[in-house]
Amino acid sequence: MAALYEGYTLCGLVPDQNLSSSGIQGIEEERDRDHVVVTDSTRSVTLYKVSDQKPLGSWTVKQGQKLTCPAVFNSQTNEYVAVTDNKVIRIWKEDDILLDKAFKATVSSDVWKVHCTHGGEPVVLFQRGAVRLLDSLLAAPQQPIEEVLAQEETIRWSTIIVAETQQFIIITTEQKGEHFLYLQRLNPNSVQRYRLEREEPGLSPLSFSAIYKDKHICLLYLYPNGHMYQSVLSVRGLGTEEGVQALPLPRSLLLGLPVGDGQLEAASAMALDEAHVAVVGVPHPSAGGGKDFLCIWNTNFQTLQAGKEMAGKIYGQLWSYSNKVFIPHGKTLSIIPFECPKSSLASALGKLKHTKTEGELNQTCHTLRTTRKSQSTTNLTTDQVLELIKTAPVEEIQKEVEGFLTRSEFQDLQPSVGQLALTLVSRSLADPAFYSSSTLAQLVHTRCLCHSVCPDLVLLALEKKDYFLCQLCLQFFPDIPEAVTCACLKTRAEDKKKASAPSQLICPVGLHKAVLINEILQTPYSDTFLLPHLKDLSSQNVMLFLQYLQFLYLKYSQDAFPQMEGFRSPSLSQIMDWVCLLLDAHFTVLVMTPEAKGLLLNLHSFVKSQVRLVSELGKIEGSLQQLHKMKAKESIGQYSIEIIELF
């Protein structure tokens, strides 16, 4: 799963008075991954070492002059290139102190931006769409610059991309509410013009982002209505004729982001890799209408992978270099490291360790109902039972619920059982004196309940120390969150009665607790979600739990472990998984705890023996598989007399 880590501040910002702009024009990578050049929107360029969060140098142009494009770093010559007042190209080195004394050249047309890839030559993009390599431009600065764009067509966004060895400049423009895209190949130069499909009238793309993958350029753009589109451009077969004709650019809807109230204003989306997109300025789906979030979405599964609230105003600006997002917000420029591991459905959904088949469920439910048929008294409807639950005493409720369950068909049971459980739980929570364990247990037994329907049930059972109900819930609920699992574990452990000097072969917990812990061990979980909650356990608890796991392991290792019929016991691999998880979560603490030393040594030897066992099994795997294939063959001697029949 993708993750956003704790961020840090690179520098403060001096935003506009009305907070419309962040005050930063651009951030460009410098000599390596750890250096960036930040250009503010007025006069200065600053070089930062990112890991140290400190400026290494800063250059400012004279009062009255203005930087009109972000400075870029030419790694071929170790020079910085920027443009002041649209027409003056400035080039300087790191040890130049005064910018005014550095090289400058005035060109004949207004410059939009200077682009430079790492290791590549800077490319100058003019406001009227023409493109020049910096060197060839400086050879004759006053050379005439052609107009590529039509009248009233203006550049909205541009970038440079390296596809294999070829450099491409991508330009998006707007002309009378229509949007176009130019794909300009350099050296040899050729350009292709595309027309972007119209979104709802009056909507212009808020942000663009382009990456190169699989021999195609992927363009990503976000509209204020939250629609994020992807268009794929082939870098091959680019027409040689100049892009007079605008080809339609096919697009596909990648994500429909929640926009909350109204439309997005300052938002930006940026492709991080093939499957992940960073989005800023879009509300978090589960955190109300606030738009000050940085989120990572997985576009393959359309799932939100990570989110982070950013304090202060979001300007809709976003840069990303070497697994770090640069985001100006409020009055700071923050750097947030992220990670986008290769996504898989399993990691996105967590692992479900065992599943019961539907047929089995029906069976259980059926038997439950038939056995209780005789007990029904009056025929109450769901609503009547619900009313009853709110006031009646425990015994009556129990009787009526039982009757209700026997009467209803399995299909109809689902919604009403949820309602019954909810009402029961809320009454129990409101009235500490009221608690109907057996009714709840009955409801859980129908297997129509799950944790999401009645989230307070397990916690209530824990509070009431109704371990049987807990156990039932753990057994039948497919969706118990890891946090609740841990809570069960914690209560369980805290509640321990001090076993006198727990030796390895004496169960360190009582029977009831053991049963509950066994149930916990068998609940489905996802490592990622469980781990943070496991860390909340005290080291005492962890010790006890590990001791119990050790006890279980030893029980399993003994030959002829009684696998009782109907006795739900965790599998050896579940035990080992939990041992590993607990050790992962608490290893540093345990290492420092003197009492834990023996335990750790024992566990170490278990792990070793497991590894050995697995490797030995691996060795004979092939032979064992052969056994499957083999048919039992009667042994044939050297000579026999047989009778065969032919037909």
């Binding site: 000579y639 026999s640 065969i644 029949e645 032919l646 037909f647």
Partner: protein, 675 residues
């Protein structure tokens, strides 16, 4: 069809000998295979890979290399001799001592005028190939260390010789070594173990390809003497290596001790590039042991080695897919019968290269009473043997002599050699007794059959049957006499079948020549029809009286045999008949035996050939409608012989391939399953 009592015999400990080397003649499409016991087998790749000739081995004749020169076959071995074979009479024609110690390799130049042999004493000796013999010409400059492998340059101007730790290139004219290529030793602990260049190849463009004991296949530039490329293909030895020299020299295969065969091809590594290089392309894993012999035909890789099986692996880019041609073929058993069966006496005769075993079948179930007699012979190996139906006579032949024994069986078995055989019985290829055991037929050289009368008192020469006077040389590999003693049928490797009238002692007729070699023939005891089965699995029935194919045979040819029958890859090696039901013909190959019921209709072309299971599950009344002429039984596997005794019980001699495998030495250690 009914029940059969089956004597299931598994005590024939037949053990094929390891394949030592092989040579493929692309003009005649014949493959010569030499085995560790000195036997040389010739397979006809034009005729279903039929093993048409076997030259028996000899103790002490260890063949290291084979070489075709046109139609002539030469071998050389560790006894230091070069042998040319008489491929008609299946025996060594002459041997020449090279006087250089054991010979490791032999190779002829492309014109077929000279033979080069590599000797233990470090000399490469050149022999001139003359019309009827070879003659020593000269030695190339001598080196210290043995010459393990040789290859002529196609221009015949140079010879590359693989030695220990190096390859030497000789000028064939002057005999001077012009270049030495030093071969790296294996890495690691075995660094001080010298490396043996087991095999070299020399291409027209002066590329030299070598395979060595350090597991490397190396490509050298022979002009500059530089190493171009090294492929480490195994941890063990690269034992054999061969170029598809008859084609464009664009493919090389190498066999390793691990049982793999690795193909290298001279191709451009990317599609749009023109400069080609040698690239490792395919790996075939069809052997469990050393692959010491390889041949590269136009369409297939042929390999053999320690595990005794000959494997023909078609290259799928050269043959049409999903046809019989593209099927992998493993030849594990000889294409002739090594078992003799005395039907009246219940005796079995097993032929080994160096001995014969005689067994008596048991009388009652479970109590197989076996009398065995093993006879060990001289240094020449046995080429054929015969047991008379009454069990009273046993004859066998080596390349040089024939022996006849009288067997007497009362409580104990006694075997007595018959002295003083007629001098005409010298070198024979096939032996056969008449059904009343009064005559012995022996196919001899010049395509003649010698008839000898055998009786208690004497063994007397009667007659020599010849179908033609003159120079007809094809040898007879099959003989069979009719039960009534009137007919004798012979078949030769030129696919001809001749019928002799034994009453008149002269040729009766010749069966029309079919283009595939007969693998077995038999004369029906009642109808006197000749049944012949050929290498392409076709079956014919020829009436000896009417001198024409029978109606049944014509119908079979018109309707055609099922493809499942035709695609079987082992030949029918034996036919017997059911004396109680003349409609039944019993024949077998390695994997099944089949009773053909001539009274039943042939299977339709879309019918199931092997329908015994279906029939078994049908009620008796419906079986008739479903059954067809071919009753196939696959219960017994890897059949060496199926025969019907006089008491109507079947004798089935099995030799499971697994039993053969289990007697092989342990293969080289390979890492498997994390061991």
């Amino acid at each position: 069809m009914g029940e059969f009592k089956v004597h299931r015999v598994r005590f024939f400990d037949y053990m094929p000998s390891a394949i030592r080397t092989m040579a493929f003649n692309s003009q005649t499409e014949r493959l010569a295979v030499a085995r560790a016991d000195g036997a040389v087998e010739i397979f006809n790749f034009n005729d279903n890979f039929f093993q048409e000739k076997v030259i028996p081995g000899q103790d002490g004749r260890a063949i290291e290399a084979l070489c075709w020169v046109g139609h002539r076959l030469f071998s050389a071995g560790l006894n230091g001799e070069i042998t040319e074979y008489d491929l008609e009479n299946l025996r060594p024609q002459y041997t020449v001592d090279a006087y250089g110690g054991p010979i490791w390799t032999i190779s002829s130049n492309s014109q077929g005028t000279q033979l080069a042999v590599g000797c233990e004493d470090g000399t490469v000796k050149i022999f001139a190939i003359l019309e009827e013999r070879i003659q020593f010409q000269r030695n190339l400059n001598r080196h210290k260390g043995r010459i393990i492998s040789l290859c002529w340059h196609p221009s015949s101007a140079q010879i590359a010789a693989g030695m220990t730790d190096m390859i030497t290139i000789y000028d064939a004219e002057t005999g001077q070594a012009t270049r030495r290529l030093l071969v790296d030793r294996a890495m690691g602990a075995s660094k001080n173990k010298e490396v043996v260049v087991w095999s070299v190849g020399y291409l027209s463009d002066h590329t030299i390809i070598s395979g060595d004991s350090a597991g490397k296949v190396q490509i050298w530039n022979g002009l500059t003497g530089t190493l171009v490329r090294t492929y480490l293909v195994t941890k063990w030895d690269v034992l054999s290596l061969i170029i598809n020299a008859s084609q464009d020299e664009s493919s090389v295969i190498a066999g390793t001790s691990e049982g793999t065969v690795i193909q290298f091809q001279f191709i451009s590594s990317t599609l749009d590039q023109h400069d080609k290089e040698w690239v490792r392309t395919r790996t075939f894993r069809n052997h469990s042991h050393d692959v010491s012999a390889l041949a590269h035909t136009d369409t297939a890789v042929v390999s053999g080695g320690m595990d005794t099986q000959l494997v023909v692996r078609p290259l799928l880019d050269k043959v049409e897919k999903n046809t019989q041609e593209s099927a992998l073929r493993k030849i594990a058993f000889p294409h002739r019968s090594l078992v003799g069966c005395a039907k009246k006496a219940g005796l079995l005769l097993f032929q080994f290269p160096d001995r014969l075993e005689l067994w008596k079948l048991g009388e009652s179930e479970g109590h197989g009473e076996q009398h065995t007699h093993t006879h060990t012979l001289g240094e020449d190996h046995i080429c054929c043997s015969a047991l008379s139906a009454c069990g009273g006579w046993l004859a066998y032949s080596t390349v040089s002599s024939v022996r006849l024994y009288r067997i007497q069986y009362n409580k104990t078995i006694s075997i007595n050699k018959v002295p003083k055989l007629p001098k005409e019985l010298r070198s024979v290829h096939q032996l056969c007794f008449s059904s009343d055991s009064s005559k012995l037929f022996a196919s001899s050289c010049q395509s003649s059959v010698i008839v000898v009368a055998v009786s208690q008192q004497e063994c007397r020469y009667l007659h020599t049957l010849k179908h033609k006077t003159g120079e007809w040389k094809a040898r007879m590999h099959l003989l069979c006499a009719s039960d009534d003693g009137k007919w004798l049928a012979t078949a030769n490797t030129d696919c001809e079948i001749h019928i002799y009238n034994l009453h008149k002692m002269k040729l009766h007729c010749m069966v029309p020549v079919y283009n595939s070699c007969p693998t077995t023939i038999a004369i029906h005891p009642v109808t006197n029809n000749l049944i012949s089965v050929h290498a392409d699995q076709q079956i014919f029935e020829f009436s000896l009286v009417q001198k024409e194919y029978t109606q049944w045979s014509r119908r079979l040819q018109t309707q055609g045999l099922l493809s499942l029958w035709l695609e079987r890859d082992t030949p029918i090696t034996h036919i017997t008949f059911n004396p109680k039901n003349p409609d039944h013909i019993i024949l077998h190959d390695t994997y099944m035996f089949c009773i053909i019921d001539q009274s039943l209709p042939f299977p339709e072309l879309n019918a199931v050939l092997w329908n015994q299971m279906t029939l078994k599950n049908l009620p008796v009344s419906q079986r008739i409608g479903q059954s067809h002429a071919f009753k196939i039984c696959k219960i017994f596997q890897h059949l060496m012989c199926v025969s019907l005794l006089e008491d109507l019980s079947l004798v089935v001699v099995e030799r499971p391939l697994l039993d053969i495998m289990s007697q092989l030495p342990a293969p080289v250690r390979q890492k498997k399953f994390a061991t």
